[in-house]
């Protein structure tokens, strides 16, 4: 009888432990479409790109070789969500200020007005270093197209304030050009979890 009670208490203990939320880092999923080729799974990756940053330097996939990076889309005169998203990007920048394996990449979607000198002045106002946070411009079509690869929206829309429609997501890309996490860049709590994901991805390597 006594053994029977202990056995059931033991089972209940196992159940309680197994129902606890997982502690520490889980391996982040690879997001996006995937193909099965033979026995291999082929994940969606960020295509080749070439943009120019606030220091008039070319920024390509090679800039992010062996790095992970965080992406967003914005424009300087944006009257809606951009400043809030930039404030959160700045949090990420400051939180990982001592982490050379993480870079940030912000694309302007108003290439006509956000020239390189204006991007430079904007970067100076944020107080950021170009070698860690690239604010880039380039071909309008290229930027709008690559936004889709980052699961984001960027397009002209005269019916919305500022004239551009875009999402406020922050997107995390790994060293193999694969999207591993994203969050709502207007929501500090969502960004808190996102920064945990960044740390997990850094620890994964």
């Amino acid at each position: 009888m006594k053994n029977w009670i202990f056995f059931h208490l033991f089972l209940v203990g196992i159940l309680i432990i197994s129902c606890q939320p997982p502690q520490g880092c889980q391996v982040l999923p690879v997001l996006g479409n995937r193909d099965i080729q033979g026995t291999d799974t082929v994940y969606a990756t960020i295509p080749d790109f070439t943009f120019m940053d606030q220091d008039s330097q070319s920024v390509t996939n090679a800039t992010f070789a062996d790095k992970i990076y965080v992406v967003d889309f914005f424009f300087i005169s944006c009257p809606t969500i951009c400043p809030k998203v930039k404030k959160q990007m700045l949090r990420v920048y400051q939180r990982f200020s001592q982490e050379p394996r993480l870079l940030l990449l912000s694309h302007t979607i108003d290439v006509r007005h956000d020239t390189i000198p204006r991007l430079k002045a904007y970067a100076d106002g944020l107080g950021i270093s170009t070698n860690r946070w690239h604010l880039v411009t380039g071909s309008e079509d290229d930027i709008y197209q690559i936004a889709g690869n980052y699961f984001s929206i960027a397009k002209k829309d005269p019916s919305v304030p500022g004239g551009f429609d875009h999402s406020g997501r922050l997107i995390l890309v790994d060293e193999d050009r694969r999207v591993r996490s994203f969050c709502d860049g207007t929501d500090p709590q969502s960004v808190d979890q996102f920064m945990t994901d960044i740390q997990c991805l850094l620890d994964e390597r």
Binding site: K84, K87, G125
Partner: protein, 140 residues
């Protein structure tokens, strides 16, 4: 009789516990919060803070003009220079602007400043045309 008195005290307590300037806070969030942030801290060296800003205390009559006309040129806030264009805030009337400014001053500036729609109207008469530019006006 004592029941009525208790209800009256409860009612007073309920009114006193409400967040002041609730309407102003909601209007602030929709008209100003995107740039100046919900907590009024602004954005680095790009968008000046309202929380603790010396401009709220020193130039209370400038604020309705900045909101209505927008702003360009350099401005110094708490010793730091800012140089970004601010677009005019459209779609709010004088009552709503008074609500916003009373919220801002109470929360972050000089609570003794009170804006009535009449005061806003009077200030607007002297705003001039075009965006506020303190450098041109020699107030820098």
């Amino acid at each position: 009789m004592s029941v009525n008195r208790s209800l009256f005290v409860l009612l007073l307590l309920g009114v006193a516990c409400q967040q002041p300037y609730t309407q102003g806070k909601i209007l602030y969030e929709s008209a100003c919060g995107s740039c100046h942030m919900s907590d009024g801290t602004g954005l680095a060296g790009l968008i000046p803070p309202l929380a603790g800003s010396d401009l709220l205390r020193n130039s209370p009559d400038l604020l309705p003009c900045i909101i209505t006309r927008g702003m360009e040129g350099k401005i110094q806030v708490n010793g730091q220079w800012f140089d970004q264009v601010m677009a005019p805030v459209t779609g709010i009337n004088e009552v709503e602007m008074a609500n916003i400014l009373n919220y801002i001053q109470t929360e972050w500036g000089d609570p003794s400043q009170f804006y009535s729609p009449d005061r806003i109207r009077q200030i607007h008469l002297s705003c001039g045309t075009g965006p506020v530019n303190l450098a041109i006006q020699g107030k820098e």
